[in-house]
Symmetry: D2
Subunit: 358 residues, 4 copies
């Protein structure tokens, strides 16, 4: 950590800073420049409260040298993590291909969509049972009923399923049905929820918040990791931008930036990033080309009947096409689309309480 | 609601849209222009799923004409609401002056700060017992112990207290101690939490999220109102901006914009909006001049010892000065700083369970 | 300047950096921390090319300690500058009240509007003769004919006039007619134009670009100052935001931030910042309350006939009201609305070539 | 165009709007809804001044139905344009591979870099002779001397050259040396400059401004087209974002959005978009995968000696690698990297005045 003093800081103020630093157990290294004095802190900077130091008289700026996340940092863990979602691998050259409708709707429709995306090559099925909607009057999801349908679909096709959890009180319930827990963009800094999913042993799909910096995203991952759950997959899904041409601004450069800072995999979600079906295929390919560890796409067989987010879903036929193109792109990039456990011999999916499926 | 069709939309596509609209029970009004055809929808547009309509073949754009919030809209409720926080009025010409430290810390310090801000003219005391921190390694608040201190401080000085609630499981507990529940910026779209505070009968201070549009903010208020709790005070506390000069970008124009759209009061929080103590006084005055219904300022008697957010707090002496200036500004604007209940004869503060204060 | 080295930087890399720094004539100060090595540069940091240093092997980050602008910095010039616009003072407690239509239109209308705003208390008249329009098909201004009308209006009412210059080839021509040259937001980084107005001796009104940081704004001011023209008034007029509720996002905190960094005055322009007439009065008052050195407001007597930007203009009657309120606010803040030269005995306005007014 | 009236608009106000519309020569189509009245305008909406209409009493909102650009719109010109830059084709499946240093520096270095990028497969050479720098104290380019070097380099390797023009007074001079004129991001709304390059017959590379919407970009292209120059190539080079992790925010989705709206080609510039050499390769590939018509990359053989923007340049060896990868990507996508004229038999490059090369 580096402390830059104000022009005209007094010796007394400098001494005060040094005493504070040394009281914490760090050493200080004073450097008087022509126009400014700076103090380098030597030792474990995580012991220092940057905010407190900033308020000391005479201090102009405090600049951390190390990232505030530790478990998530690549420095601490140089090798890329490979997350295992009931046998499907994400990270380290293995691509997660997540597809499915925004919301879990009726069982037959889910079966039809799942069959289609499975045949097209998706390896994780998605669907929301608890929907965070901006309007209290909008469809809020089927709840546990939706979880049951999702589990049944997953079992039928041997695909792991991912679904969003929005309430810390539901983490355990959702974990009984789902192979992977999603924390949505609007909950990326819901630290109570992060702590709960950190206590779960299910892998977590953590979506970047709309105004979250990459450092914020990694700090949120750190919450989960620090509770003992190291199975976190990050997801870039667009940040807030000023141009109404797209729903969000797809930050494709976040993929290599994140991969430089952390060992955790990162996938892209062009459905939410753009909000327009015609933009999903080019942005899916762009995400892979930038090095993403997977692609999350919403698919619905009748968008006009979708209970939520119909306009950003592809039709199954469109998914089939882009899926084929993504496979060719993966080949070019030397990446593998991770096979399903049933095809590769992997771990067993979660076994919900028997009465749940009765 | 207006549906704009694509250039070259076929008669069949137009008919399909009209049938869908009429199936919902609305009338349609077709208008064929030189370059585009548009369909006006006549009837209750809240029955229409805009997203579904957008996905119909031939549809270019769907434009709602009415705001999606109803209970919060000024159209539905033209008169400005006055929210009563244990006797202190906020809204309709009454200013809420909220002050106190970021976190509740030790009892003696809380008493000292509260005494000072009370004498300076603050009418609501704030302090966080549950702190949403970006780092899992940072101080997370004193929890219920903090609530007890806060209640004791409130009772001693006759000031209502506001504190943040971050966990839906804690809403009832926090309601036992606090006069007003704060929903923080990072939880503005934590719909589970909004629903819980909506079931509470405590007034709510709802802070605008960093990337929330004003419409998003009002939709979040609608969640609370739709659960039956109409005592919502909004708070502008800065949005995400591109200039590192300030922590956030203080959107002062949001004050009159919000007041045009809703009957709910809106206050400003220059501490979080700017993150710099030297900017708090000018931005506090700017907020009032723009018509804000109150000002929220963090105050700490020793920022370098503060357990969180020290750098954005004023010293008690600085608060006294800006408080005096705010009073003069209020006079110029014809606003009243609402007196405390003990001075004005108002309702009783919450009575926590006796064992809690034992 | 501080150079932070990468984790694992070799001694050879460190030596290379030190040799480069010392070759420029600065001293270096090495500090080896537990996790990172840093090098402090001692001497005149303006000699160092930060970009070059950043590219050296082993370098993680280069952090400048001093601002890159010198003439504009308050450090170099602690006293607030007072800019004299043909007798009207702006800065140092003197408020510039600029009002007038977006575009110069016909002579009679200009006379009527000028008479009205002059009576209401404006002390500078504005109007565009060269209009930077986003559409090539929109009204582009009356050109020199507009300048003549503007000069005539200024002379009639003894008000200095400000008008935008968009073309470096026109700076001299515009300087013959106008008391003050405006550089618009879209040209804030048109360095060719900045250089030309820097060579002029007319005061300059420099508007902040829509995506310009405050540091960018001050660097643009530095261009003008470095050419020898020290009469620069800055203007906050809204930055790009994500909320369509307002045309731009009025960054009122920029006022005190700028005043901390530079001696140059800064005014606010709530017309462009918000794009909505109902928001102009609250934002004008907010700007003054935040400490602005003046307010720029568009006024038109028939917005629906305005050739540009009608929707963001006040009617003369509305300007009269807000002008009265601004005067009361100025009194409260201890500021003076600078009188016109004819009322205070100031310098003579520019004398355009006689044939120009023939 | 659609006019939405305010709740409670009077019949008189509605009549006033209708009379205004009909006075312009359009028909109006009134539709009274349950909560709002709307008026559809039938006829050529380019005749209507949207701003004026917005100011009429009783009007809540005016919504254009057609884009404000005509010549640039794909609706007017469905087939993709192919721009010919002295024999190198950009657009319609032909990729422009632009490479070279930020600034033109000494002749020998330029020859070396050009030879290398030419061998790697670049088909247009770039270099700035007039540099728009944020600091007046930074290197401003070699001027005409730089143009001469650039022309010589272009002739030696048979590569067309592109260079930035910043001053309307220099458009003719630059056109004598360069095959293509670049308008930089900071000048995207310098309408005076756009008009001048529109009068030139050289192809133009128009970079998107940092806070420009895609509609703004197309309006700026329209300026050039409306002057008669239809050879415009657009360039996405990053917009302003809130995350300091990258210099700008690379808006890769802009590529397919732009291609849907206009027939003009669009390339990407990952150097400026990210400002970090390690991010250039993944973002270059992402741009191609999203459908870009070319890639612009800065290359320098000794970034630490570069006179500008060294940190965002690739080394020639790095360019060779990414160039190979881009070629494989182009093959996968079915695109062609347009060959040089000397290899394909195309038009002659510009012939500057003989004395210029003396």
């Amino acid at each position: 950590m580096i402390v830059i003093l104000k022009n005209g800081a007094t010796d007394e103020q400098i001494d005060h800073v040094i005493r504070r630093v040394e009281a914490i157990g760090l050493q200080s290294h004073l450097s008087r420049g022509t126009f400014r004095t700076i103090i380098g802190l030597i030792g474990d900077e995580s012991l220092v409260n940057k905010e407190s130091l900033s308020t000391l008289p005479g201090v102009a700026q405090v600049i951390p040298v190390l990232p505030p996340y530790k478990l998530a940092s690549r420095e601490a863990h140089p090798e890329s993590s490979v997350i295992d979602v009931s046998g499907v691998k994400i990270g380290g050259g293995n691509l997660g291909m997540i597809a499915g409708p925004c919301s879990v709707e009726d069982r037959d429709r889910m079966m039809r969509i799942a069959e289609s995306v499975c045949q097209s090559g998706a390896n994780v099925f998605r669907g929301g049972a608890y929907k965070p909607r901006t309007s209290p009057y909008a469809f809020q999801g089927l709840g546990e009923e939706g979880l049951k349908i999702l589990r049944e679909v997953g079992d039928r096709f041997g695909m792991p399923v991912v679904t969003e959890v929005t309430d810390p009180r539901n983490v355990e319930l959702v974990s009984q049905y789902a192979d992977m827990l999603q924390v949505g963009a609007r909950n990326m800094q819901n630290f109570v929820l992060l702590t709960e999913v950190g206590k779960s042993r299910r892998p977590v799909l953590l979506k970047r918040g709309m105004s979250a910096t990459i450092a914020d995203l990694l700090m949120s991952a750190e919450y989960i990791l620090s509770e003992g759950n190291s199975n976190v997959v990050l997801c870039e899904r667009g940040v807030k931008g000023f141009d109404p041409a797209t729903r969000n601004l797809f930050d494709v450069a976040a993929v290599p930036v994140v991969q430089g800072l952390t060992h955790l995999p990162i996938i892209v979600d062009p459905s939410h990033a753009t909000g327009r079906p015609d933009l999903i295929p080019p942005c899916a390919l762009a995400g892979l080309a930038a090095g993403a560890d997977g692609v999350h796409i919403e698919v619905h067989d009748c968008p006009e009947e979708a209970k939520s987010d119909g306009p950003q879903a592809l039709l199954p036929e469109q998914y089939k096409q882009i899926s084929h193109q993504m496979r060719l792109m993966a080949d070019l990039l030397g990446k593998t689309i991770s096979p399903l456990a049933k095809d590769a011999g992997g771990p067993t999916p979660p076994q919900p309480p028997t009465e749940a499926l009765a």
